[in-house]
């Protein structure tokens, strides 16, 4: 049979089946993530105003994104992290546990994942600092707040 068999060709029927199953698994994986995470109703985070408009029920896990207002506190002893996240219109009081990421600062962006409590405060299970797209060297004499060990 004059067929040019290329290098790397999966010759055996078993090998081909395995390869096809792998390809199918990959395709299913892609499809799952595409529809789950990028579907029309799926968003990475809601702004505080969007969360209020959608009337997110207490206890439902959700992510909020916004800016950290001045007044961020972290108590080393109790490990209580408290700050307010805002989108300029709606403010949400966030309660977290454990040391915040180094880049979490007042006036910068943050994304928090967690649940609303009945009183409207947000208990965060995860706090992520957001960095904007601007990069600039430090001014003379000023140490960047984030220092890698």
């Amino acid at each position: 049979m004059s067929v040019a068999r290329p290098a790397g060709y999966a010759g055996g029927a078993g090998e081909r089946r395995l390869l096809m199953l792998t390809a199918l698994a990959v395709a299913i994986g892609i499809g799952y993530f595409a529809f789950q995470e990028l579907g029309p109703s799926a968003v990475y985070y809601l702004t505080p105003t969007e969360a209020k408009e959608r009337q997110i029920a207490p206890g439902t896990t959700v992510r909020l994104g916004g800016q950290v207002e001045p007044g961020l506190t972290y108590d080393e002893a109790t490990r209580d992290l408290r700050f307010i996240i805002t989108d300029g219109v709606t403010r949400v009081f966030v309660l977290g546990r454990g040391a915040p990421p180094a880049l979490l600062r007042e006036g910068a962006g943050a994304v928090v994942e967690g649940v609303f409590l009945n009183d409207g405060t947000f208990r965060a299970s995860q706090v992520i600092a957001k960095h904007d797209e601007v990069y600039a060297p430090p001014s003379p004499g000023v140490t960047p707040p984030h220092r890698t060990p």
């Binding site: 040019a4 068999r5 990959v26 892609i30 994104g65 990421p101 880049l103 979490l104 957001k130 060297p137």
Partner: protein
Amino acid sequence: MITTAPPRALTVRIRPVLGLASVAAATIATAMALLWAPPDAVQGEVQRIMYVHVPAAWTAYLAFVVVFLGSVGWLWSRRLAFDAVAVASAEVGVLFTGLALVAGSIWAKPTWGVWWTWEPRLITTAIMFVMYVGYLLLRGLSPGIEQRATRSAVIGIVAVLNVPVVHLSVTWMNALHQLPTVLRPGGSPALDERMLATLLVGVLAFTLIYLWMVAKRATLELARSARVMEGLR
């Protein structure tokens, strides 16, 4: 008629030049990234990871566009050189996408506070990575060289859509990954001149490495195909 003869100029003359140029550019880029470029006012030294992460990502985009061009070239001309360039470019593209993901993750832990999160840029990049891994895996399923080239070409043409989706994902929806700093419409790049210069030298180094790897791999692919075809005579 299928032609398999590799272009001699590419294999004999250009590759050593590309190799030397790659080493030189990579050395200069590393020196600039570690010693000359300033740290960031907010992030400090960890920002230097950008000089690996961004060139790797952009070169991966380039690689997948070349896969697209090679795929079109094969379907148009039936010259195996196009298919060889396509598979070589896909391999290097997968490598650089993986590198971008790993470098990004290393950067994310001290800055964002997490190694990974399912946000738009990360998801679309992971999908792009997996799709081109699929492209490479599926090449093992075709029993014939021409059939393999044609099947790959179909995937290579569709999968290039990942590139604009990955890049624009952060502008389409709320995302954690920052907006584009350099490749953005309107405003000039939002970074210090020394950072931009270092970044561009890094891009040059990565591109030369990419060209060198593709030249080597495509030549190998054509040699393999030639041997197979010869075995049929």
